[in-house]
Symmetry: C2
Subunit: 544 residues, 2 copies
């Protein structure tokens, strides 16, 4: 069923003014809002969450009873159930309350806690969260007071969860109440019937693919959200990866189109796309610092959208924004063709500490300029950006001069010659140096204990892309299987924002309660597994 | 403005099946649901709540700033404001949230606490409430999490309050938020334009009258509620008093008519009216023990409604229920004409401890039988209840034989000869003994230190009625001024459920946090002050 009411609200919101160049023209392509599809899900079991040494983050949810055992019996203050919905979902919870022997003569007050992973139930919530670096308001707790019994009560906020803990905080001593049912209305703009499993995939590959698709499904709403639990913004960098996975699975072009236009409509005064957009209450730029590498990816994302969907008209309208993105990122490049160390942008690349991003940014920009020129040619606008191929070539040459460490056979970065996996990946992606240099650097870096490794699935995606570009497709596929497969082995229903195989407690926010466990940028295995199949990459190899 | 949407919901709910005799006929006069009228109120000041020895319950709210000083400034975790709306209201709160310099990048979580009187803010809420005898879920606390900023957020639950404390529990460290405005949508079925102040009343009388009318206004919703903060049930005993005050002020006959029919439609199998009805989600009897004295009042309430409104048709339809009420209460009377000590009913009369209710019930029943016969005659149905005058006469005679304490000159009650103010009041109301006995007993009891005094405004109303029936109208008026005026002097915006002039901490529930401070049964001064004016009672006297 399509959630018409919700979409109507969004559509109304979309009609309001936004920042940027599109706003002034009265032209708002992002008004075309994808419909949300609904599924009704019921919990599959009651579980208990306990300490378990071998489990992910030290917490395990194990079955403690049937959901039916929670229903129909009188509940009193302190009663508690943890419902397991059996899969990750994004949506709205409905509680059906009934009375037992006489009317309930006082409101029923319930504490609800939603969790994507067991640790979110197991760890003390507010206490631990106050140590985090972002607001504990992201922790999905809700106290609801229900005045009328019997009734069906839908909690008005949207949550992202697999587990829901329900605790009775207060209720009448007189007329007693019971739960009669619990269900969830899951929402997504993904058409699940469009999804086709990879034919005759191994059970392991199939599991990775399904978890990736679920990650995309749940972050795919009226725009492409970052993390449906925490940070519902549309981010340019995540958008590209969601779009690639989407073309391989659900093929919802409308949501990509709208997301691209949201970024373009919320462009800053230089015309370059927003780094991130708040969709609601009305679309607008998050107004944070611009991410250099994300901005560089915009032309590629438009090009890939046009090729996947055939929607040349949208690409034509997005072209000025793509062109402006190129000009903006070039402002970070010095006259010699090298990205400046202090370029004033937010150089993101990864949530990893202590590594230098200059080489990665150099690669991202060159990649972006190449794709922009390719887009221009496809649109017959190459005269407008005739200077780009020359700049890209100069930047590639300059990379070899300034960033190649011939003695170690790897790409270095920054004043101190920092060596990281990501520098090698981006130099491969942009095609700097010779194929041998690129491939050799990728092979060598994984054997260097001091080389800074990637930390997030976002960075791992680009490392895989770097391997792919260097022709190391088997190694790339093996890494997908090892890294994302590692999350599956640890019980992931959707792929996480942050996954360090050696440290379950890793968090960009100093609290695992604040991590997002269904995160847009982690959904690309569906893309890689299918691309590997198409390109005949099947041989298993190991990458370390 | 009329709240059409709310009424529509109620009307739909009213259409569903209810218990009792009316349900089977498919005939539902209570479907005629009075419309709610809305007023928008804004807070008038910020206040602080502090200990103050002379203040009611030891807490005083004093002005600490303009409401404007709360608005437009960045708020952080722990910020707190107490908004004073300047008057008691029942309704829905709207919070307008804005951003400051960049979009707010995390939900805003606020703790809201609503209070009718300052002590509800001053006293620790949950801790103290857990000592109470009824559910702490009645305490008006709400934690709301607002995902979208800027936005106007209406809290979905209805509250009864003058003060609202707002505390920032969690918010972003990044984009900051502010309050831009706070308002309330007050609801009532009272038409305030119908209210006429008592002409040239003293400031004291005028204040009592306005507080009484506000009490009625805020407990007058789609039915006549008991306490809009706590216990929204329609209770038969409260209904009679609200109806009397309503005929003297707002004259909304529709809400009385609907309330009478709700009680009749939810009759038990013997056809007698429900003692209390839950209006929502669908009307039904509260299914508790039947209150003997309330049931006895039903015929009087129908008679008074018919006389005030002229709606003979409704009285005709309610007649079978009134007749059944008589039969039911007579089952508590023994063959000699005396109310049995152990009659199986809930003998209410007052929330006072340690007094015997036999005499009061005797009086209430006789009063009810008299009014029932009067109603029957007005409807031409006196043949159906031809036995009632004889029974009433017999009960009056029996009261003199069994309950008159000739040596002390007062009415006694129960096996131990308990003496209370209420026994004297009800014997006066039902006209037992001679006028001299009744008047003398009322005069004497107030000078007897051991006589049990009334505790609630409900009981005080009937003591005033007893004085009135004994011709002691000046004394009655003086008592209205002293007792209800005492609440006004202590700062009441609406009259309280429980008021013991000598004990501010009195609570039927062992926690003042659970008391209702706008309570239906306390609203009759508007009736008495006007009746005194009509009957020329103006001389001030003192009653002790």
């Amino acid at each position: 069923m399509i959630a018409k009411r919700y979409c109507k609200t969004i559509a109304a919101a979309c009609g309001l003014l936004c920042l940027g160049t599109f706003a002034t023209g009265g032209d708002r392509p992002s008004d075309a809002c994808p419909a949300l599809r609904e599924r009704t899900l019921k919990p599959v079991a009651l579980v208990k969450v306990e300490r378990s040494e071998g489990a992910f983050q030290g917490w395990r949810a194990s079955r403690s009873g049937t959901t039916g055992s929670a229903f129909g019996r009188p509940l009193v203050r302190g009663d508690e159930f943890i419902f397991d919905f059996g899969e990750h979902l994004v949506g709205y919870v409905k509680l059906e309350l009934g009375d037992i022997d006489r009317p309930v003569d006082a409101p029923v007050r319930l504490d609800l806690s939603f969790a994507e992973v067991p640790s979110e139930i197991g760890e003390g919530r507010e206490g631990a969260a106050s140590l985090g670096t972002i607001s504990p308001s992201w922790i999905q707790d809700e106290t609801v007071t229900i005045d009328e019994v019997p009734s069906v009560f839908e909690v008005s906020r949207r949550f992202a969860f697999r587990y829901m803990r329900l605790r009775v905080r207060a209720c009448s001593n007189g007329g007693r109440f019971s739960l009669r049912g619990v269900s969830a209305r899951a929402v997504s703009s993904a058409d699940l019937s469009a999804f086709r499993p990879i034919p005759s995939a191994s059970p392991e590959d199939d599991a990775i693919d399904r978890v990736a698709a679920a990650t995309l499904r749940d972050s795919m709403q009226t725009c492409l959200e970052d993390g449906p639990k925490r940070d519902r913004r549309l981010w340019l960098g995540d958008l590209r990866l969601q779009a690639l996975a989407n073309y391989a699975t659900f093929r919802n072009y409308e949501v990509v189109r709208r997301s691209l236009f949201l970024l373009a409509e919320c462009a800053s005064s230089d015309g370059a796309p927003a780094t991130a957009v708040f969709e609601r209450p009305t679309p607008r730029s998050s107004n944070g610092r611009r991410i250099l590498d994300y901005t560089a990816l915009f032309p590629a994302t438009v090009l890939e959208y046009m090729r996947a969907s055939g929607d040349t008209e949208a690409a034509r309208r997005l072209w000025p924004t793509a062109k402006a993105a190129c000009e903006t990122v070039l402002s970070a490049v010095d006259e010699t063709g090298l990205v400046r160390a202090d370029n004033g942008f937010w150089n993101f690349i990864d949530w990893q500490d202590g590594f230098d991003r200059q080489a990665s940014e150099q690669g991202a920009i060159v990649f972006g300029l190449d794709r922009a020129y390719e887009l221009a040619r496809a649109l017959g606008r190459e005269k407008e950006v005739a200077h780009l191929p020359g700049i890209a070539a100069k930047m590639r040459t300059r990379a070899v001069e300034a960033l190649w460490d011939g003695s170690r056979g790897v790409w270095k970065s920054g004043r101190d010659g920092n060596v990281s996996w990501m520098s090698q990946a981006y130099m491969s992606i942009c095609g700097a140096g010779t194929p041998e240099m690129r491939r050799g650097a990728l092979e060598r870096v994984t054997d260097m204990p001091d080389a800074v490794r990637p930390r997030t699935p976002y960075a791992y995606h680009y490392f895989v892309e770097g391997l792919w570009c260097a022709g190391m497709k088997s190694e790339a596929l093996a890494l997908v299987r090892e890294y994302w497969g590692g999350m599956v082995k640890k019980g992931a229903d959707t792929f996480w924002e942050c996954y360090d195989p050696s440290d379950d407690m890793a968090s960009p926010y100093r609290s695992i309660l604040l991590n997002s466990y269904c995160h847009a940028w982690s959904c690309t295995p569906s893309y890689w597994l299918r691309r590997a199949r198409e390109e005949g990459v099947e041989k298993r190899t190991n990458v370390r």
